[in-house]
Protein backbone atom coordinates (compact mmCIF):
# COMPACT_ATOMS: atom_id res chain seq x y z
CA UNK A 1 0.00 0.00 0.00
CA UNK A 2 2.99 2.29 0.48
CA UNK A 3 3.35 4.70 -2.37
CA UNK A 4 6.57 6.50 -3.00
CA UNK A 5 6.15 10.15 -2.15
CA UNK A 6 8.56 12.75 -3.44
CA UNK A 7 7.53 15.59 -1.15
CA UNK A 8 9.29 14.42 2.02
CA UNK A 9 12.51 14.19 0.04
CA UNK A 10 12.11 17.71 -1.35
CA UNK A 11 11.46 19.14 2.12
CA UNK A 12 14.39 17.21 3.49
CA UNK A 13 16.58 18.54 0.69
CA UNK A 14 15.59 22.15 1.39
CA UNK A 15 16.24 21.57 5.08
CA UNK A 16 19.63 20.05 4.39
CA UNK A 17 20.64 22.90 2.08
CA UNK A 18 19.57 25.42 4.70
CA UNK A 19 21.45 23.50 7.37
CA UNK A 20 24.66 22.96 5.49
CA UNK A 21 25.02 25.96 3.20
CA UNK A 22 26.03 28.41 5.97
CA UNK A 23 28.49 25.86 7.32
CA UNK A 24 30.00 25.20 3.92
CA UNK A 25 30.11 28.92 3.18
CA UNK A 26 31.84 29.64 6.48
CA UNK A 27 34.34 26.88 5.94
CA UNK A 28 35.01 27.98 2.36
CA UNK A 29 35.41 31.57 3.48
CA UNK A 30 37.82 30.59 6.24
CA UNK A 31 40.09 28.92 3.69
CA UNK A 32 40.49 31.99 1.51
CA UNK A 33 42.88 34.08 3.57
CA UNK A 34 45.56 33.85 0.92
CA UNK A 35 44.33 35.17 -2.41
CA UNK A 36 43.39 32.64 -5.10
CA UNK A 37 44.27 29.64 -2.96
CA UNK A 38 42.55 27.51 -0.38
CA UNK A 39 44.76 27.28 2.71
CA UNK A 40 44.39 26.79 6.43
CA UNK A 41 46.29 30.05 6.98
CA UNK A 42 43.33 31.62 8.84
CA UNK A 43 43.34 28.74 11.33
CA UNK A 44 47.10 29.12 11.82
CA UNK A 45 46.69 32.83 12.45
CA UNK A 46 43.75 32.27 14.77
CA UNK A 47 45.54 29.66 16.83
CA UNK A 48 48.75 31.68 17.13
CA UNK A 49 46.95 34.63 18.66
CA UNK A 50 47.77 34.54 22.35
CA UNK A 51 44.52 36.35 23.13
CA UNK A 52 42.62 33.45 21.62
CA UNK A 53 44.05 31.04 24.16
CA UNK A 54 43.50 33.46 26.98
CA UNK A 55 39.84 33.99 26.11
CA UNK A 56 39.22 30.38 25.22
CA UNK A 57 40.85 29.35 28.47
CA UNK A 58 38.58 31.67 30.39
CA UNK A 59 35.54 30.19 28.66
CA UNK A 60 36.66 26.69 29.62
CA UNK A 61 37.11 27.91 33.19
CA UNK A 62 33.62 29.43 33.26
CA UNK A 63 32.18 26.28 31.71
CA UNK A 64 33.82 24.01 34.28
CA UNK A 65 32.75 26.22 37.18
CA UNK A 66 29.21 26.34 35.83
CA UNK A 67 29.08 22.59 35.34
CA UNK A 68 30.23 21.94 38.90
CA UNK A 69 27.95 24.51 40.55
CA UNK A 70 24.96 23.59 38.43
CA UNK A 71 25.37 19.88 39.20
CA UNK A 72 25.74 20.57 42.91
CA UNK A 73 22.68 22.76 42.86
CA UNK A 74 20.40 20.71 40.64
CA UNK A 75 21.11 17.06 41.51
CA UNK A 76 20.39 17.25 45.27
CA UNK A 77 17.37 19.46 44.57
CA UNK A 78 15.92 17.13 41.96
CA UNK A 79 16.65 14.15 44.18
CA UNK A 80 14.97 15.83 47.11
CA UNK A 81 11.93 16.65 45.01
CA UNK A 82 11.62 13.02 43.99
CA UNK A 83 12.25 11.57 47.42
CA UNK A 84 10.67 13.94 49.89
CA UNK A 85 8.84 16.80 48.26
CA UNK A 86 6.97 15.82 45.12
CA UNK A 87 4.58 18.68 45.87
CA UNK A 88 7.37 21.18 45.30
CA UNK A 89 7.93 19.98 41.75
CA UNK A 90 5.86 22.67 39.99
CA UNK A 91 7.74 25.41 41.85
CA UNK A 92 11.15 23.97 41.07
CA UNK A 93 10.12 23.42 37.47
CA UNK A 94 8.90 26.99 37.28
CA UNK A 95 12.26 28.30 38.46
CA UNK A 96 14.15 26.16 35.96
CA UNK A 97 12.08 27.64 33.16
CA UNK A 98 12.83 31.21 34.23
CA UNK A 99 15.61 31.79 31.68
CA UNK A 100 12.91 31.63 29.02
CA UNK A 101 10.98 34.34 30.79
CA UNK A 102 13.90 36.55 31.74
CA UNK A 103 16.28 36.58 28.77
CA UNK A 104 20.02 36.98 29.36
CA UNK A 105 20.08 40.69 28.47
CA UNK A 106 17.27 41.46 30.86
CA UNK A 107 18.71 39.37 33.64
CA UNK A 108 22.06 41.11 33.21
CA UNK A 109 20.32 44.44 33.45
CA UNK A 110 18.61 43.42 36.65
CA UNK A 111 21.74 41.87 38.17
CA UNK A 112 23.83 44.94 37.38
CA UNK A 113 21.34 47.43 38.70
CA UNK A 114 20.93 45.40 41.90
CA UNK A 115 24.49 44.24 42.60
CA UNK A 116 26.43 46.85 40.64
CA UNK A 117 26.26 49.54 43.24
CA UNK A 118 26.28 49.61 47.07
CA UNK A 119 25.05 48.19 49.39
CA UNK A 120 25.87 44.86 47.71
CA UNK A 121 28.62 44.93 45.08
CA UNK A 122 29.30 41.70 43.27
CA UNK A 123 30.76 42.93 39.98
CA UNK A 124 34.38 42.61 41.04
CA UNK A 125 34.12 38.80 41.09
CA UNK A 126 32.75 36.45 38.44
CA UNK A 127 29.87 35.47 40.73
CA UNK A 128 27.26 37.21 38.58
CA UNK A 129 28.66 35.63 35.41
CA UNK A 130 28.61 32.10 36.84
CA UNK A 131 25.17 32.71 38.34
CA UNK A 132 23.91 33.81 34.93
CA UNK A 133 25.38 30.69 33.34
CA UNK A 134 23.84 28.48 36.01
CA UNK A 135 20.47 30.07 35.31
CA UNK A 136 20.97 29.33 31.61
CA UNK A 137 21.85 25.72 32.36
CA UNK A 138 18.95 25.10 34.77
CA UNK A 139 16.34 23.92 32.26
CA UNK A 140 18.71 21.40 30.68
CA UNK A 141 20.27 20.17 33.88
CA UNK A 142 16.97 19.81 35.69
CA UNK A 143 15.23 18.13 32.81
CA UNK A 144 18.09 15.69 32.28
CA UNK A 145 18.41 14.79 35.96
CA UNK A 146 14.66 14.67 36.43
CA UNK A 147 14.29 12.20 33.56
CA UNK A 148 17.13 10.16 35.00
CA UNK A 149 15.55 10.07 38.46
CA UNK A 150 12.21 9.13 37.01
CA UNK A 151 13.80 6.10 35.42
CA UNK A 152 15.35 4.70 38.60
CA UNK A 153 12.50 4.89 41.13
CA UNK A 154 14.26 6.99 43.75
CA UNK A 155 11.87 6.18 46.55
CA UNK A 156 12.38 2.44 46.43
CA UNK A 157 16.14 2.74 45.97
CA UNK A 158 16.51 5.17 48.85
CA UNK A 159 14.28 3.17 51.17
CA UNK A 160 16.12 -0.01 50.24
CA UNK A 161 19.47 1.69 50.96
CA UNK A 162 18.19 3.13 54.24
CA UNK A 163 16.85 -0.25 55.34
CA UNK A 164 20.27 -1.73 54.64
CA UNK A 165 21.74 0.81 57.01
CA UNK A 166 23.27 3.24 54.54
CA UNK A 167 23.76 6.88 55.55
CA UNK A 168 22.84 9.86 53.43
CA UNK A 169 26.35 10.36 52.09
CA UNK A 170 26.54 6.74 51.06
CA UNK A 171 23.15 6.87 49.42
CA UNK A 172 24.01 9.92 47.36
CA UNK A 173 27.48 8.84 46.31
CA UNK A 174 26.99 5.08 46.02
CA UNK A 175 23.40 4.78 44.86
CA UNK A 176 22.02 7.95 43.35
CA UNK A 177 25.00 9.48 41.54
CA UNK A 178 26.13 6.27 39.79
CA UNK A 179 22.60 5.65 38.55
CA UNK A 180 22.34 9.21 37.35
CA UNK A 181 25.70 9.32 35.62
CA UNK A 182 24.28 9.33 32.13
CA UNK A 183 21.65 11.91 32.97
CA UNK A 184 24.13 14.24 34.65
CA UNK A 185 26.60 13.84 31.80
CA UNK A 186 24.03 14.76 29.20
CA UNK A 187 23.08 17.86 31.19
CA UNK A 188 26.74 18.75 31.58
CA UNK A 189 27.55 18.39 27.88
CA UNK A 190 24.75 20.72 26.96
CA UNK A 191 25.84 23.20 29.61
CA UNK A 192 29.36 23.05 28.23
CA UNK A 193 28.16 23.73 24.68
CA UNK A 194 26.05 26.66 25.83
CA UNK A 195 28.70 28.32 28.00
CA UNK A 196 31.47 27.93 25.43
CA UNK A 197 29.54 29.87 22.83
CA UNK A 198 27.85 32.32 25.16
CA UNK A 199 28.20 35.98 24.39
CA UNK A 200 25.58 38.06 26.18
CA UNK A 201 26.54 37.60 29.84
CA UNK A 202 30.28 37.69 29.25
CA UNK A 203 30.11 40.73 27.02
CA UNK A 204 27.72 42.79 29.13
CA UNK A 205 29.37 41.85 32.42
CA UNK A 206 32.78 42.54 30.83
CA UNK A 207 34.50 39.22 31.44
CA UNK A 208 36.93 37.69 28.98
CA UNK A 209 35.46 34.75 27.10
CA UNK A 210 35.44 33.13 23.70
CA UNK A 211 32.17 34.71 22.57
CA UNK A 212 33.11 38.37 23.07
CA UNK A 213 36.60 37.67 21.68
CA UNK A 214 35.08 36.21 18.52
CA UNK A 215 32.77 39.17 18.17
CA UNK A 216 35.65 41.58 18.72
CA UNK A 217 37.95 40.13 16.08
CA UNK A 218 34.91 39.84 13.80
CA UNK A 219 34.67 43.57 13.65
CA UNK A 220 38.40 43.97 13.00
CA UNK A 221 39.45 41.10 10.78
CA UNK A 222 38.17 38.81 8.09
CA UNK A 223 38.80 35.05 7.69
CA UNK A 224 39.99 34.27 11.24
CA UNK A 225 36.52 34.88 12.76
CA UNK A 226 35.09 32.44 10.22
CA UNK A 227 37.78 29.93 11.08
CA UNK A 228 36.90 30.24 14.76
CA UNK A 229 33.19 29.97 13.92
CA UNK A 230 33.91 26.63 12.30
CA UNK A 231 35.78 25.57 15.44
CA UNK A 232 32.88 26.74 17.59
CA UNK A 233 30.40 24.84 15.49
CA UNK A 234 32.48 21.70 15.80
CA UNK A 235 32.54 22.14 19.58
CA UNK A 236 28.76 22.33 19.67
CA UNK A 237 28.51 19.37 17.33
CA UNK A 238 30.82 17.28 19.51
CA UNK A 239 28.99 18.20 22.72
CA UNK A 240 25.56 17.41 21.30
CA UNK A 241 26.88 14.37 19.49
CA UNK A 242 28.26 13.00 22.76
CA UNK A 243 24.99 13.86 24.44
CA UNK A 244 22.99 11.93 21.86
CA UNK A 245 25.43 9.06 22.07
CA UNK A 246 25.23 8.60 25.83
CA UNK A 247 21.56 9.47 26.08
CA UNK A 248 20.51 7.22 23.21
CA UNK A 249 16.91 6.17 23.37
CA UNK A 250 16.12 8.31 26.38
CA UNK A 251 13.98 10.66 24.37
CA UNK A 252 15.60 13.78 25.75
CA UNK A 253 14.87 16.89 23.82
CA UNK A 254 16.62 20.14 24.31
CA UNK A 255 14.75 23.37 24.19
CA UNK A 256 16.53 26.44 22.94
CA UNK A 257 19.98 27.61 23.87
CA UNK A 258 21.45 31.03 24.47
CA UNK A 259 20.89 33.19 21.49
Amino acid sequence: MKKFNIWPWIILLIGMVYFFLPLIATFEFSLKMIKDRYTFEAYRVAFTDSKFFLNFGYSVLWAVLTMICSTLLVVPTAYWVHWKMPNARPYVEFVTLMPFVVPAVTLTYGLLSLYGSPPIVLIGSPILLIAGYIVLSLPYMFRAVDTGLRAIDVRTLTEAALSLGAGWGTILTQVIFPNLRVAILSGIFLTFAIVMGEFTFASLLSWPAFGPYLEEIGSMRAYTPQALSVVSFMLTWISIGLLQLIGRGRGQEQVAGAH
Partner: protein
Amino acid sequence: MTGITRVSKSNGDAPQARPQNRKAMDWSWLGLAPFFLFAIIFLFLPSVSIFFRSFQTRAGDFTFENIIALFTVRDIANAYKTSLQISLITAVGGALFGFMLAYAVVLGGLPRGVRTFMTTFSGVASNFAGVPLAFAFIATMGNAGLVTRWIESIFNISTREMGISIYNLWGLSIVYMYFQFPLMVLIMAPALDGLRREWREACENLGGNSYHYWRYVAFPILLPSILGTMILLFGNAFGAYATAYAFSGSFINLVTILIGAQIQGDVLYNPGLGNALALGMILIMALCMAGYAWMQRRAARWIR
Protein backbone atom coordinates in the same frame (compact mmCIF):
# COMPACT_ATOMS: atom_id res chain seq x y z
CA MET B 1 14.52 39.81 51.01
CA THR B 2 10.80 39.11 51.32
CA GLY B 3 11.18 35.71 49.71
CA ILE B 4 13.83 34.54 52.12
CA THR B 5 11.84 35.50 55.18
CA ARG B 6 8.82 33.74 53.76
CA VAL B 7 10.69 30.47 53.37
CA SER B 8 12.25 30.58 56.80
CA LYS B 9 8.95 31.61 58.31
CA SER B 10 7.15 28.61 56.92
CA ASN B 11 9.86 26.46 58.48
CA GLY B 12 9.24 27.99 61.84
CA ASP B 13 5.49 27.94 61.60
CA ALA B 14 4.91 24.33 60.73
CA PRO B 15 5.54 22.71 64.14
CA GLN B 16 3.45 25.33 65.94
CA ALA B 17 0.52 24.89 63.60
CA ARG B 18 0.51 21.12 63.81
CA PRO B 19 2.66 20.16 66.76
CA GLN B 20 1.66 16.50 66.77
CA ASN B 21 2.54 16.10 63.09
CA ARG B 22 5.60 14.13 62.09
CA LYS B 23 8.75 16.17 62.37
CA ALA B 24 9.89 15.29 58.82
CA MET B 25 7.87 18.19 57.42
CA ASP B 26 10.02 20.74 59.25
CA TRP B 27 13.35 20.06 57.67
CA SER B 28 12.06 18.74 54.35
CA TRP B 29 11.94 22.27 53.08
CA LEU B 30 15.57 22.78 54.01
CA GLY B 31 16.60 20.32 51.31
CA LEU B 32 15.34 22.75 48.72
CA ALA B 33 16.61 25.85 50.48
CA PRO B 34 19.90 26.23 48.52
CA PHE B 35 18.06 26.01 45.23
CA PHE B 36 15.40 28.53 46.12
CA LEU B 37 17.94 30.79 47.77
CA PHE B 38 19.89 30.84 44.53
CA ALA B 39 16.72 31.52 42.55
CA ILE B 40 15.73 34.36 44.86
CA ILE B 41 19.10 36.07 44.82
CA PHE B 42 19.90 35.73 41.13
CA LEU B 43 16.49 35.54 39.48
CA PHE B 44 13.66 36.97 41.51
CA LEU B 45 15.34 39.88 43.24
CA PRO B 46 16.78 41.22 39.94
CA SER B 47 13.33 40.90 38.37
CA VAL B 48 11.69 42.56 41.34
CA SER B 49 14.30 45.31 41.19
CA ILE B 50 13.52 45.87 37.52
CA PHE B 51 9.84 46.06 38.37
CA PHE B 52 10.18 48.64 41.14
CA ARG B 53 12.76 50.78 39.41
CA SER B 54 10.52 50.98 36.34
CA PHE B 55 8.26 53.16 38.45
CA GLN B 56 11.03 55.37 39.82
CA THR B 57 12.46 58.64 38.70
CA ARG B 58 16.17 59.26 38.77
CA ALA B 59 15.69 60.67 42.25
CA GLY B 60 13.79 57.61 43.40
CA ASP B 61 10.26 59.05 43.41
CA PHE B 62 7.27 57.12 42.15
CA THR B 63 6.32 57.78 38.53
CA PHE B 64 4.44 56.33 35.55
CA GLU B 65 6.53 58.31 33.11
CA ASN B 66 8.89 55.46 32.24
CA ILE B 67 6.02 53.15 31.38
CA ILE B 68 4.33 55.84 29.29
CA ALA B 69 7.62 56.54 27.55
CA LEU B 70 7.68 52.94 26.27
CA PHE B 71 4.83 53.88 23.96
CA THR B 72 5.75 57.45 23.21
CA VAL B 73 9.53 57.55 22.70
CA ARG B 74 9.92 56.66 19.04
CA ASP B 75 13.10 54.60 19.31
CA ILE B 76 11.61 52.44 22.03
CA ALA B 77 8.23 51.96 20.36
CA ASN B 78 10.05 51.09 17.13
CA ALA B 79 12.29 48.63 18.91
CA TYR B 80 9.26 46.82 20.29
CA LYS B 81 7.62 46.85 16.89
CA THR B 82 10.68 45.42 15.16
CA SER B 83 11.22 42.81 17.86
CA LEU B 84 7.57 41.74 17.63
CA GLN B 85 7.75 41.62 13.85
CA ILE B 86 10.85 39.49 13.69
CA SER B 87 9.51 37.19 16.40
CA LEU B 88 6.23 36.75 14.57
CA ILE B 89 7.88 36.15 11.20
CA THR B 90 10.36 33.59 12.48
CA ALA B 91 7.81 31.90 14.77
CA VAL B 92 5.32 31.37 11.95
CA GLY B 93 8.00 30.60 9.36
CA GLY B 94 9.93 28.32 11.69
CA ALA B 95 6.79 26.51 12.78
CA LEU B 96 5.62 25.96 9.20
CA PHE B 97 8.89 24.69 7.86
CA GLY B 98 9.76 22.83 11.05
CA PHE B 99 6.40 21.07 10.95
CA MET B 100 6.86 20.04 7.34
CA LEU B 101 10.33 18.75 8.10
CA ALA B 102 9.17 16.87 11.18
CA TYR B 103 6.33 15.38 9.17
CA ALA B 104 8.67 14.35 6.37
CA VAL B 105 11.05 12.71 8.83
CA VAL B 106 8.46 10.98 11.04
CA LEU B 107 5.65 10.08 8.66
CA GLY B 108 7.07 10.71 5.19
CA GLY B 109 8.47 7.24 4.70
CA LEU B 110 12.09 8.39 4.77
CA PRO B 111 14.74 5.86 5.81
CA ARG B 112 15.08 5.37 9.56
CA GLY B 113 18.59 6.77 9.73
CA VAL B 114 17.37 10.12 8.43
CA ARG B 115 15.33 10.61 11.55
CA THR B 116 18.20 9.96 13.96
CA PHE B 117 20.42 12.23 11.94
CA MET B 118 17.77 14.92 11.81
CA THR B 119 17.10 14.92 15.55
CA THR B 120 20.80 15.08 16.34
CA PHE B 121 21.29 17.85 13.86
CA SER B 122 18.29 19.75 15.15
CA GLY B 123 19.74 19.47 18.64
CA VAL B 124 22.97 21.02 17.38
CA ALA B 125 21.35 23.68 15.21
CA SER B 126 18.91 24.83 17.87
CA ASN B 127 21.89 25.35 20.16
CA PHE B 128 24.19 26.77 17.51
CA ALA B 129 23.41 30.42 17.90
CA GLY B 130 24.98 33.68 18.82
CA VAL B 131 28.19 35.04 17.35
CA PRO B 132 29.32 32.04 15.28
CA LEU B 133 25.89 31.71 13.71
CA ALA B 134 25.89 35.36 12.70
CA PHE B 135 29.34 35.00 11.16
CA ALA B 136 28.27 31.90 9.30
CA PHE B 137 25.45 33.81 7.66
CA ILE B 138 27.67 36.76 6.88
CA ALA B 139 29.97 34.31 5.09
CA THR B 140 26.92 32.93 3.29
CA MET B 141 24.94 35.94 2.19
CA GLY B 142 27.04 38.93 3.17
CA ASN B 143 28.71 41.11 0.55
CA ALA B 144 31.42 38.56 -0.15
CA GLY B 145 29.35 35.55 0.87
CA LEU B 146 29.19 32.30 -1.00
CA VAL B 147 25.56 32.54 -2.04
CA THR B 148 25.92 36.22 -2.90
CA ARG B 149 28.80 35.41 -5.23
CA TRP B 150 26.84 32.58 -6.83
CA ILE B 151 23.86 34.79 -7.48
CA GLU B 152 26.05 37.58 -8.80
CA SER B 153 27.86 35.31 -11.23
CA ILE B 154 24.71 33.51 -12.38
CA PHE B 155 22.66 36.65 -13.01
CA ASN B 156 25.67 38.83 -13.73
CA ILE B 157 24.66 41.55 -11.30
CA SER B 158 26.21 43.38 -8.41
CA THR B 159 24.15 43.29 -5.27
CA ARG B 160 26.16 46.14 -3.84
CA GLU B 161 25.36 48.44 -6.74
CA MET B 162 21.72 47.45 -6.59
CA GLY B 163 21.70 48.50 -2.97
CA ILE B 164 20.61 45.12 -1.70
CA SER B 165 21.52 44.56 1.91
CA ILE B 166 20.87 41.63 4.19
CA TYR B 167 21.33 43.62 7.35
CA ASN B 168 17.66 44.24 7.86
CA LEU B 169 14.58 42.59 9.30
CA TRP B 170 14.37 39.91 6.61
CA GLY B 171 18.04 39.10 6.63
CA LEU B 172 18.00 38.67 10.39
CA SER B 173 14.85 36.57 10.09
CA ILE B 174 16.70 34.16 7.83
CA VAL B 175 19.45 33.89 10.43
CA TYR B 176 16.99 33.33 13.29
CA MET B 177 15.25 30.62 11.30
CA TYR B 178 18.41 28.58 11.65
CA PHE B 179 17.74 27.95 15.34
CA GLN B 180 13.96 28.33 15.13
CA PHE B 181 12.81 25.53 12.91
CA PRO B 182 15.09 22.83 14.39
CA LEU B 183 13.39 23.57 17.70
CA MET B 184 10.03 22.97 16.04
CA VAL B 185 11.36 19.68 14.64
CA LEU B 186 12.53 18.62 18.10
CA ILE B 187 9.16 19.29 19.69
CA MET B 188 6.90 18.19 16.84
CA ALA B 189 8.61 14.86 16.10
CA PRO B 190 7.41 13.25 19.35
CA ALA B 191 3.99 14.86 18.90
CA LEU B 192 3.70 13.31 15.46
CA ASP B 193 4.78 9.99 16.94
CA GLY B 194 1.80 10.35 19.25
CA LEU B 195 -0.60 10.09 16.32
CA ARG B 196 -1.68 6.48 16.48
CA ARG B 197 -1.94 4.38 13.37
CA GLU B 198 -5.33 3.12 14.56
CA TRP B 199 -6.82 6.61 14.32
CA ARG B 200 -6.07 6.77 10.64
CA GLU B 201 -7.33 3.23 10.18
CA ALA B 202 -10.50 3.91 12.14
CA CYS B 203 -11.06 6.98 9.99
CA GLU B 204 -10.61 4.99 6.78
CA ASN B 205 -12.79 2.22 8.13
CA LEU B 206 -15.56 4.77 8.66
CA GLY B 207 -15.36 5.92 5.06
CA GLY B 208 -12.97 8.83 5.53
CA ASN B 209 -9.97 9.66 3.38
CA SER B 210 -6.71 11.53 4.07
CA TYR B 211 -8.47 14.88 4.00
CA HIS B 212 -11.01 13.82 6.61
CA TYR B 213 -8.27 12.34 8.74
CA TRP B 214 -6.22 15.52 8.79
CA ARG B 215 -9.16 17.89 8.95
CA TYR B 216 -11.07 16.20 11.78
CA VAL B 217 -8.55 14.06 13.65
CA ALA B 218 -4.83 14.68 13.24
CA PHE B 219 -4.80 18.43 12.89
CA PRO B 220 -7.12 19.16 15.84
CA ILE B 221 -5.03 16.82 17.99
CA LEU B 222 -1.78 18.50 16.96
CA LEU B 223 -3.06 22.06 17.02
CA PRO B 224 -2.28 22.82 20.67
CA SER B 225 1.27 21.50 20.22
CA ILE B 226 1.75 23.52 17.06
CA LEU B 227 0.42 26.72 18.60
CA GLY B 228 2.32 26.12 21.83
CA THR B 229 5.60 25.62 20.02
CA MET B 230 4.90 28.67 17.90
CA ILE B 231 4.57 30.74 21.05
CA LEU B 232 7.80 29.25 22.34
CA LEU B 233 9.53 30.18 19.09
CA PHE B 234 8.13 33.67 19.39
CA GLY B 235 9.65 34.12 22.84
CA ASN B 236 12.85 32.49 21.67
CA ALA B 237 13.29 35.11 18.95
CA PHE B 238 12.11 37.95 21.14
CA GLY B 239 14.79 37.33 23.77
CA ALA B 240 17.65 36.75 21.32
CA TYR B 241 20.51 39.21 21.66
CA ALA B 242 23.91 37.77 20.71
CA THR B 243 22.95 36.67 17.22
CA ALA B 244 21.41 40.01 16.32
CA TYR B 245 24.26 41.99 17.86
CA ALA B 246 26.98 40.04 16.05
CA PHE B 247 25.03 40.03 12.80
CA SER B 248 24.20 43.67 12.42
CA GLY B 249 25.59 45.53 15.41
CA SER B 250 22.99 48.09 16.35
CA PHE B 251 21.77 48.39 12.77
CA ILE B 252 18.52 46.70 13.59
CA ASN B 253 16.76 48.34 16.48
CA LEU B 254 15.57 45.48 18.68
CA VAL B 255 14.50 45.63 22.32
CA THR B 256 17.37 43.38 23.38
CA ILE B 257 19.88 45.49 21.43
CA LEU B 258 18.52 48.61 23.09
CA ILE B 259 18.79 47.08 26.57
CA GLY B 260 22.34 45.95 25.79
CA ALA B 261 23.25 49.46 24.68
CA GLN B 262 21.67 50.87 27.81
CA ILE B 263 23.84 48.56 29.96
CA GLN B 264 27.00 49.52 28.12
CA GLY B 265 26.39 53.21 28.43
CA ASP B 266 23.08 54.71 29.46
CA VAL B 267 22.05 55.62 25.90
CA LEU B 268 18.57 56.51 27.07
CA TYR B 269 20.00 58.89 29.67
CA ASN B 270 17.51 57.45 32.13
CA PRO B 271 18.06 54.23 34.11
CA GLY B 272 14.36 54.13 34.97
CA LEU B 273 13.52 53.94 31.30
CA GLY B 274 15.98 51.07 30.89
CA ASN B 275 14.19 49.23 33.68
CA ALA B 276 10.82 49.86 32.06
CA LEU B 277 12.23 48.52 28.80
CA ALA B 278 13.38 45.36 30.56
CA LEU B 279 10.06 45.06 32.39
CA GLY B 280 8.15 45.19 29.10
CA MET B 281 10.36 42.40 27.84
CA ILE B 282 9.76 40.23 30.92
CA LEU B 283 6.01 40.78 30.62
CA ILE B 284 5.94 39.71 26.99
CA MET B 285 8.10 36.68 27.73
CA ALA B 286 5.94 35.75 30.71
CA LEU B 287 2.85 35.96 28.51
CA CYS B 288 4.56 33.65 26.03
CA MET B 289 5.42 31.11 28.71
CA ALA B 290 1.89 31.22 30.11
CA GLY B 291 0.48 30.72 26.64
CA TYR B 292 2.88 27.88 26.03
CA ALA B 293 2.02 26.18 29.32
CA TRP B 294 -1.68 26.54 28.62
CA MET B 295 -1.31 25.02 25.16
CA GLN B 296 0.80 22.19 26.56
CA ARG B 297 -1.93 21.36 29.00
CA ARG B 298 -4.50 21.36 26.23
CA ALA B 299 -2.28 19.11 24.17
CA ALA B 300 -1.91 16.69 27.07
CA ARG B 301 -5.61 16.75 27.91
CA TRP B 302 -6.75 14.27 25.29
CA ILE B 303 -3.88 11.90 25.48
CA ARG B 304 -3.43 10.03 28.70
